[in-house]
Each structure stands twice: as structure tokens, then as C-alpha cells.
């Protein structure tokens, strides 16, 4: 019977190479997630409020009491920037948890699409959100007295590192999103991990002021390396090894978490 040929005439996966369709799937999923940003009032509000709030609170409430050896706005900028990027990744956890909870996940999984596309869509949307946040942070920074002495190359390196860090933390968040049992959990689990990671770091204070144990953690964890590298590029604090270490950390996290997330996603509940 020729029924199946006639009925499936619309589907022609052979018309393009496989990689074309993987890119197509990722694009469709990314476009979907980006539409969620522009159509969800909550997302837009938090996207604007978070950077503004973090910057103002730290600069003016805590800033007077903290001594870092340099102008605090200059010290703080890289810290707040990285913190906002890290919190942005929580959207991947939440949005993934929402998708898994609703019937739409079954629909996507029953389609001949690349199964990693849904994850990649959410993570790329994180990048887009973080790009918006970045502009707000930079504008806020200048408002509160941030005066960088970075060249264009330095700024490009900062941008590159920001993208790399955002991808790393989003892939980590994707794994969390695949394991949480409820939306509430998706919301707090990101905070429980990201708050300590960004606070026990060089984001707001010199790590030399911390007790020994905390200091050892703070000085050797990836967020500190990323912050130190950015700070050095932007305001000329000593770079040391932090640039190299930041890149190694981020690439390492992506190399482990991305395949792991896809693997967990494909096998989840089958």
C-alpha cells in the first residue's frame, strides 16, 4: 500500500544533511524560549530589577564599610556582573522543570527532533537574557562610579569570558532542572547553590579578609577566577593565573555537564 508515502509527503528529512536538522531543531527551541522572555512579564521585570537592585544595595549599603584598596565601584563591578550572570542561569532550571512537568515534554520527545535541542534552546535563551542584563549592569556601573580603563580588546575578552561562564553555569543548571521534583524546588535549588558560590568569592570583599577555611574555598573556586580575570581586564588589578584558570574551569564544566545533561535527559523516565 502506498498510503504511508502519500501521507508523509510533507516530511522530507533526506532533503538536508542531518546536521542541518540538528541546527534547525536548536533554532526552533531557542526561538521558542526567546519568545517566552518577551511575552512573560515576570521575566522582563526580574531581568531589569535584579541587576539594578544588586548594584545599588552592594554599592551603597555595604560599599562604605568595605575596603578593597581600590575604588569600591571599580572593585564591585566584576563581582556583580558575574553574580547576575550566575543567577540568570536559574531560568534554565526553572523553565526546564516547567517543561518536564507539563505534557509538552512528551510531545517534544515523540517528535523526530534532536533530543538535545530543548536543553540547548533554554541555555541559548539564558545567553540572550544575560546579554540584556549585561547592558543594564554596565549602565548601572557607570551610574555608581565604575570607571574602567579597559581597551576594546579587554572588553572583548570580558565578553568572551562572560559567554563561556554563562554557558558553564547554564549547563550545570540544566542538570538541576532535570532532577528537581517540583517548580518550588527548581526556584530554591539554584539559589542554594549560586548564593554561596558567588558570596564565598572575591565578588564583594577581598578573600584575604575571610577565615582560613572559607578563604581556601573562595580562592580556589571557579567564580573567583572568573571575577578576578574580568576585574583585571577592566580595572587593571593583577591578573595572576586567574585568566587561564577561569577558562579551564568553564570549559571543563561544559565538557562534563553538557554531555551528562543530554544523557540524563534522554534516559529520564524511560
Amino acid at each position: 500500500m502506498a498510503d504511508s508515502e502519500i501521507l508523509t509527503e510533507h516530511i522530507d528529512p533526506e532533503a538536508h544533511k542531518n546536521i542541518f536538522w540538528v541546527v534547525n531543531d536548536c533554532w526552533e527551541m531557542t526561538r521558542r524560549s526567546i519568545r517566552h522572555i518577551t511575552r512573560s512579564f515576570d521575566q522582563i521585570i526580574s531581568l531589569i530589577l535584579f541587576p539594578v537592585m544588586f548594584m545599588l544595595l552592594n554599592r551603597y549599603v555595604l560599599g562604605g564599610a568595605i575596603h578593597t584598596g581600590i575604588n569600591y565601584a571599580n572593585y564591585l563591578f566584576a563581582g556583580i556582573f558575574v553574580q547576575v550572570l550566575a543567577f540568570g542561569a536559574n531560568y534554565t532550571t526553572i523553565n526546564l522543570a516547567v517543561d518536564l512537568k507539563e505534557g509538552i515534554i512528551d510531545r517534544f520527545k515523540s517528535l523526530p527532533m534532536a533530543s538535545s535541542a530543548l536543553l540547548i534552546g533554554h541555555i541559548t535563551a539564558d545567553l540572550v537574557r544575560n546579554l540584556i542584563s549585561a547592558f543594564i549592569i554596565i549602565a548601572m556601573g557607570f551610574l555608581v562610579g565604575f570607571r574602567p580603563n579597559a581597551s576594546l580588546t579587554d572588553w572583548l575578552l570580558v565578553a568572551g569570558l562572560a559567554v563561556l561562564f554563562s554557558l558553564a553555569i547554564s549547563w550545570m543548571s540544566a542538570i538541576l532542572g532535570l532532577f528537581v521534583k517540583s517548580l518550588e524546588a527548581a526556584q530554591w535549588i539554584g539559589f542554594v547553590i549560586i548564593f554561596p558560590l558567588t558570596f564565598i568569592s572575591s565578588a564583594f570583599v577581598l578573600t584575604s579578609t575571610m577565615p582560613a577555611g572559607l578563604r581556601a574555598f573562595a580562592e580556589n573556586q571557579p567564580v573567583t577566577q572568573v571575577i578576578n580575570a574580568m576585574r583585571s581586564l577592566l580595572v587593571g588589578t593583577p591578573m595572576g593565573n586567574s585568566g587561564r584558570l577561569a577558562v579551564i574551569w568553564c570549559v571543563g564544566i561544559i565538557a562534563v555537564c553538557a554531555p551528562l545533561a543530554v544523557w540524563v535527559f534522554q534516559r529520564r523516565n524511560r
Partner: protein, 327 residues
């Protein structure tokens, strides 16, 4: 496998720790036919749909769709099927049109085809006015329609409909029946799960009844009804206290009692004659009769006689699955 078979399940079982969601179900659907999968909540209907649509791997047995094994060739199966689950699986922030076009692209249709087909479906499902509104503004019936339309975008030869009318108002339900009939008329093979007897009776060419993960009957709606026997006489007794006595007086091999409804029913091969006889016997015994009716067996009766409980009663597996936190 014969080319006439659209999908086939052989001895499929799905076990979770202690729960047997499916325990050896076999079924087969011919191309262009509607196969009704009938059973109460927790019988294993959704699990079977998930196995057929490659979402779950069976613990035992094989499932083939259009000649491809769901376990070894999931991608080939996915190109041939459309799935409409129990809950509207629609992106609420996207418009109806965007949802359809996205689905088309994910089914690997060309941009042009996806657009054209999306427009067609919007018309076919009477959603023209709402096409450019986010789906979250849709009514329940509209969501169901766009949901079904999404699984039809690539005109797949096999469609799985998991309880497509649960929660719909009567009018939307009839519209859905009409759509399903038209689809089958156009050559699509459909697996329809339902817990409504009249739905299976109305739509299905063949019915498989499952309960607690096992097949308990199969056949055409007529052959299933024939199994239960002929017409039944249903007598509603006036006083609850006399229901048991009425049962004894009416007698017969397959007399059934529903104490809550104060109803006694019995097979009636004699038609009107039997009706007269039963009434006069009850009158002689001074048992008050509220009403009496003669009706043809429904699939409800089939279910009752096969399982000993009605189709709307939950079976135990659903409870156990819920405790495990499974959907």
C-alpha cells in the same frame, strides 16, 4: 509483518519497582482503522500509548509502528506518528499559529510546507480568529483543538489519541468525534484510548479492553456486546430494604444488583413477555417498583460482566503509580 498492519504490540509489559503498569498486552491495528483502547483509570492505557510513541521502553515484549520497532528505531517511528496526550501539550506563550509552525519544522517539514499546513489546520479546526493570540488566552476546548491540530501537522499515518475528550463539554466532544472519524476516513490509523463506553462504541472499528495492565477482551463493539448477551431488563426498586428480596424473586442466572441505585437487572431474552412476568411477580410479593426499562447492552455492561466493576472505578495500579510520583 503484513503491510496492512499499521501498528502492533506483542506481549508488552512495563514494570516499575513493584507496580506492573502493563503486564502482557497484545494488540494490532489495520491501516485506516480506529482501534479503541478501553479501560478504567490506571488500567495501563497511557503507559501503552507512551510505549507506542517511543516515550517509554517496554520491560518485555515488542511494539512496532509502520514496520519499525519502537525500541531499536525510535527515530523512524517518530516520523510516522502524531501524539495527543491527556493534557493539552501546547506552548501557552506561543500563538496557535506559532505552535503549529514550530511543530512542522520539528517534524522536518520545509518552511513553506509548515506554513501552508499550519494555515490549513487553523481553518480546519475553526481557530482563525484565535490564530495570532497566545494559547494561554484559549478556552479548554480551543486548547484541545490546537493540541490535536499540532499532532496532525505532518499528516502522520498513525495517530495516538490519549483520552482526547476527557474534560470536554458535550458539544466539543461531538466535534472531536467528528474530527476523529474524518481522519480515519482519510486513511489515518488511530489508537484512541478512552474510559467512555459510548465513545469507543461510536468511533472504534475494534476495541481492546484492558484492566490492571492486562487485556481482558477484544473484538468489534458488536461482538463484545454479544458476549454479554441480549437485552437487559432494569428494575428500580422503591425501597432499599426490599432490593435483596426482589433479586430472589426475579431470579435467573445472571441477575445483577446495584444496591446504591436500588436497581436489579436481568437478561431478557423474552422481550416484553419477560417484562410483564417480572412485574406481576414483584406485585404479588408486594414489592414497590419505581421504574422499569428494557435496554440493549452497552459497553458498560460488557465491562461490568468482564471485570466485576464499572469502567469508572479506579483500579489499584493508578494509586500505586501516583505514590511513586509518576505521571
Amino acid at each position: 509483518m503484513s503491510t496492512e498492519v499499521a501498528f502492533e504490540v506483542k506481549n508488552v509489559a512495563k514494570y516499575y519497582d513493584k507496580v506492573k503498569a502493563l503486564d502482557g498486552v497484545s494488540l494490532q491495528a489495520q491501516k485506516g482503522k480506529i482501534l479503541g483502547l478501553l479501560g478504567p483509570n490506571g488500567a495501563g492505557k497511557t503507559t501503552l500509548v507512551k510505549v507506542l510513541s517511543t516515550l517509554l521502553l517496554p520491560t518485555k515484549g515488542t511494539a512496532m509502528v509502520m514496520g519499525h520497532d519502537v525500541a531499536t528505531e525510535p527515530d523512524k517511528v517518530r516520523q510516522q506518528i502524531g501524539l495527543t496526550g491527556q493534557y493539552a501539550a501546547v506552548d501557552e506563550y506561543l500563538t496557535g499559529l506559532e505552535n503549529l509552525q514550530m511543530m512542522g519544522r520539528l517534524y522536518r517539514m520545509s518552511v513553506k510546507d509548515a506554513r501552508q499546513r499550519a494555515d490549513e489546520l487553523i481553518k480546519q479546526f475553526d481557530l482563525e480568529e484565535a490564530a495570532k493570540r497566545p494559547v494561554k488566552t484559549y478556552s479548554g476546548g480551543m486548547k484541545r483543538r490546537i493540541d490535536l491540530a499540532m499532532s496532525l501537522i505532518a499528516t502522520p499515518p498513525v495517530i495516538f489519541l490519549d483520552e482526547p475528550t476527557t474534560g470536554l463539554d458535550p458539544r466539543s466532544r461531538l466535534t472531536m468525534w467528528d474530527t476523529v472519524k474524518k481522519l480515519a476516513g482519510g486513511g489515518t490509523t488511530i489508537l484512541l484510548t478512552t474510559q467512555y463506553m459510548d465513545e469507543a462504541d461510536n468511533l472504534a472499528d475494534n476495541i481492546v479492553v484492558i484492566d490492571r495492565g492486562k487485556t481482558i477482551a477484544e473484538g468489534t463493539p458488536d461482538s463484545l456486546k454479544a458476549k454479554v448477551g441480549s437485552d437487559r431488563l432494569e428494575i428500580v426498586i422503591g425501597k432499599k430494604s426490599t432490593v435483596e428480596e426482589a433479586k430472589k424473586i426475579i431470579g435467573g442466572r445472571d441477575v445483577q444488583v446495584d444496591k446504591d441505585k436500588q436497581t436489579v437487572s436481568v437478561a431478557s431474552r423474552g422481550g416484553v413477555g419477560k417484562l410483564k412476568e417480572v412485574l406481576s411477580r414483584l406485585e404479588r410479593a408486594n414489592i414497590e417498583v419505581d421504574s422499569i426499562s428494557l435496554h440493549r447492552p452497552t459497553l458498560d455492561d460488557v465491562f461490568m460482566s468482564l471485570t466485576g466493576h464499572t469502567a469508572t472505578k479506579d483500579s489499584s495500579t493508578e494509586e500505586a503509580k501516583k505514590k511513586k510520583g509518576k505521571k
